[in-house]
């Protein structure tokens, strides 16, 4: 599944200072859908190079990290249960720094 992931607000520093990642993530074995929970696990394993605690807390993002799925706050689409589709754009922005 082709996805575009964007990291901002400092989160890009955790993945080699690359802001935009075009990635290919597939649903786990036996699943036909990919949801945000799976994606977060995948990001943590494959993209985050350092200090994963700045990005994740438990199996969700750390509070203060904003998640937009196709420009829409993921709290509307069910947060971790949000189902992702081909060519979706997922944005992570940290609001924890500066002002």
């Amino acid at each position: 599944m082709q996805l575009t992931l964007e990291f901002g607000g400092g989160l890009e520093l955790l993945c080699d200072s690359v802001k935009i990642h075009k990635v290919n993530v597939n649903p786990q074995d036996g699943e036909d859908k990919l949801n945000m929970k799976d994606l977060l696990a995948w990001v943590r394993t494959n993209l985050i190079k350092e200090r994963p605690e700045m990005f994740m807390k438990g199996d969700s993002v750390r509070p203060g990290v904003l998640v937009l799925v196709n420009d829409c706050d993921w709290e509307l689409s069910g947060q971790l249960d949000t189902t992702l589709e081909e060519k979706d754009v997922v944005v992570f922005i940290s609001t924890l720094h500066g002002g």
Binding site: G64, C72, L76, V91, T95, G98
Partner: protein, 393 residues
Amino acid sequence: MGGPGAGPECKIGPRPVAERNPPVAHGAARGGPGLKFVSLKICRECFYTVFEDEIHSVIVENQLFKPGERIAIGASGGKDSTVLAYVLSELNRRHNYGVDLFLLSVDEGITGYRDDSLETVKRNEVQYGLPLKVVSYKELYGWTMDEIVKIIGLKNNCTFCGVFRRQALDRGAALLKVDKLATGHNADDIAETVLLNILRGDIARLSRCTSITTGEDGPIPRCKPFKYTYEKEIVIYPFHWLPNLNQLFTYAYFKRLDYFSTECIYSPNAYRGFAREFIKDLERIRPRAILDIIKSGEDFRISTSTKMPEQGICERCGYISSQARLFRMPNCARKPASLKWCKACVLLEGLNRGLPKLGIGRSRGLNNDRKKDMKQSHGTENIGSKQCGTLDF
């Protein structure tokens, strides 16, 4: 909730993009009985409208601006002040506030931090057509933060930075001859400050940190139009109107993200960090908790017998401190004991005389008990842990 389409679901937009937990009403219906926080799902266009309208109503209800006034916007290059500059210039035009807006930046002289964000501010100057004034520590005090850190190390540098910035903003505002200074403090910042003031027992600050306008008795009053605006919305806001703007800005925005992602390289950030995280945790459980904290801050009944800090005019630089307290020069044989200086002058004197510890509370030993601790936080301006990236109140 005053915006259009104020139903439980946005009826205008094709697709909701955000859920809002609006501060029901800032004035008119404030805290009225039966008013419930309603989570609104709203689409992008409505989000802008509601976001802007809400700030407009805050400005109107609190009479932040009067026609003909000159208003400086404290611009750090961060998300809050950038959005503030954009929104204020928008609203000024749309609602005919009749004010003249200026951007005011402080250059602390921190290589790799402020010099970059100043670039953002300079771009804002062009985009919004707002005149920019940059005041630097070097110009005002003869020292850059880099130089100060070289001398005093990383331990108390935030005290210098905070004290100097506060004064620098006032002086910059005086140079611009503005009537008021607007800062980009958002609801999260203020909630955080409320908590911090409880944590450090600073009653004086606790009593005033929630005021939307402060320092009215001082030279330059300051106001916080974003007082009721969630930080989250400030982040979402530019994200959404971004595509509508020209390429230059898009670039600037993404570039800007870099800046505030870069924490002040000198900032240590101990318990402010905890407070910040606590607030974000809270927001997840109950978003309105942020506004509730602010409300609590407003509701605190401060005992009248609590000693409030002394205010006045510094006998060295003549600076009328809006909030800063005056200090008797400590341990200084050559000066008469009654001489009262502002904190910035005390710190500066220390630097210039090679006694950088002057004016900084003595370092805390292991067995220091609370009593002394308390005394210290009352006697001195304790901004030690204020994050460098944000502007002090």
